[in-house]
C-alpha cells in the first residue's frame, strides 16, 4: 500500500499524540523504533 507524504506526516503526528496521551503504552525502544521508521519513510519523499 502506498501513502502520500501528507499521510505519513499525519502518522508521525498521530504517534506523537498517542505517546503524549498514553506514554506507558509502549517501551521507549518501541516508540523510538516506530518514529525512526516513519522518519525514514518521510525521507524517501524528500529524496524523490
Amino acid at each position: 500500500m502506498s501513502y502520500t507524504k501528507q499521510e505519513v506526516e499525519e502518522f508521525l503526528q498521530r504517534l506523537y499524540d498517542a505517546k503524549e496521551s498514553n506514554p506507558s503504552a509502549y517501551l521507549p525502544s518501541i516508540w523510538e523504533d516506530i518514529e525512526k521508521q516513519i522518519q525514514a519513510k518521510l525521507k524517501t519523499y524528500q529524496e524523490i
Binding site: M1, R14, L15, L27, D33, I34
Partner: protein, 238 residues
C-alpha cells in the same frame, strides 16, 4: 512438557518412558533416548540452567523444561540513543512475514513463561533468566502487537553472577559492571527486552522487530557496540 519435580529421573528411559511429567532427560531434550551425553554437554547444561563450567548434577534437571525455541537469532542491527544502545535481533516483520515470537504455530501469549538467553560470539552465555511476558495488541494507532517482560516476574537468573532485578523498574535486569564493556568506565548495565509485530491496521511501512536495550546505569556513554558481546538472542517459550 516439564521434567518431574522429584523422584526417579534418568538420562534415557530407566526411570520410565513417555511419562507425564517426563522422567527422561533425553526425551525432554527431544533427542534419542539411547543417546550418550555428558552432563556437561551444552544442551544438557542449557536444560539444567547450569551454563558454563560449574558443578552439575542430575537433581538440577528436576522441574526443568526444554520449552520451544521461538527465536535463536544473531543481531541484525543497532541504534544508539543517549547512554543506551539497542540491539535488534530480527526486524522487518510484516503481517505476511511475521515475528516468530508473536505469530505462527507456537507463539508467545500474554502471561506465558519464557526464557531469555543472550550469548556472545564465543557462544558463552552472558545473560539468562526466566520471566512472564506481557503480550498485547494496541487498539489504537499504531496497532502493533508487542511483548515485554512483565514487571516483578523475573526469576531464575542463571547468568551473570551478581545480576539482579532493577530496583526502580522490576521489568528490567541489572547486570554487573564488566558484563558488557564501555568506551570508558565500568557501569552496571540495565537490560530491557521487547518485540513487536504489525497488525492489519498498522501502516504497511511500519515493521516489527525484537530488541534488547543496554543502558548504562551511570556515566555518559552507551555500552560498546555489542555485536561481539551480545551477538545472539534466544527466546524460549516454557
Amino acid at each position: 512438557m516439564t521434567l518431574v519435580a522429584s523422584g526417579a529421573i534418568s538420562f534415557g528411559t530407566t526411570a520410565g518412558a513417555g511419562q507425564t511429567p517426563k522422567r527422561s532427560i533425553y526425551e525432554e531434550l527431544g533427542i534419542s533416548v539411547t543417546s550418550t551425553r555428558s552432563l556437561g554437554a551444552t544442551d544438557m547444561r542449557g536444560l539444567a540452567d547450569k551454563p558454563g563450567n560449574g558443578t552439575i548434577s542430575i537433581s538440577d534437571f528436576y522441574g526443568k523444561s526444554a520449552g520451544t525455541t521461538l527465536i535463536n537469532i544473531n543481531t541484525t542491527g543497532s541504534s544508539v540513543t543517549g547512554t543506551s544502545v539497542t540491539l535488534i535481533y530480527g526486524s522487518g516483520y510484516t503481517t505476511s512475514s511475521p515475528n516468530p515470537v508473536l505469530s505462527g504455530g507456537t507463539l508467545l501469549g500474554n502471561g506465558d513463561s519464557a526464557k531469555f538467553i543472550i550469548t556472545d560470539n564465543t557462544s558463552t552465555i552472558k545473560v539468562q533468566f526466566n520471566a512472564t511476558v506481557d503480550v498485547s495488541t494496541s487498539g489504537t494507532y499504531p496497532y502493533l502487537t508487542t511483548y515485554s517482560v512483565r514487571g516483578g516476574t523475573i526469576s531464575n537468573i542463571v547468568a551473570p553472577s551478581g545480576a539482579s532485578v532493577n530496583s526502580s523498574d522490576n521489568s528490567k535486569l541489572d547486570v554487573p559492571a564488566g558484563t558488557f564493556t564501555y568506551p570508558s568506565g565500568t557501569p552496571i548495565t540495565t537490560l530491557t527486552f521487547s518485540g513487536t509485530n504489525p497488525t492489519a491496521s498498522t501502516p504497511s511501512f511500519i515493521t516489527g522487530s525484537n530488541t534488547v536495550t543496554y543502558t548504562a546505569a551511570s556515566g555518559s556513554a552507551p555500552a560498546n557496540a555489542l555485536a561481539t558481546e551480545a551477538i545472539n538472542l534466544k527466546l524460549i517459550k516454557l
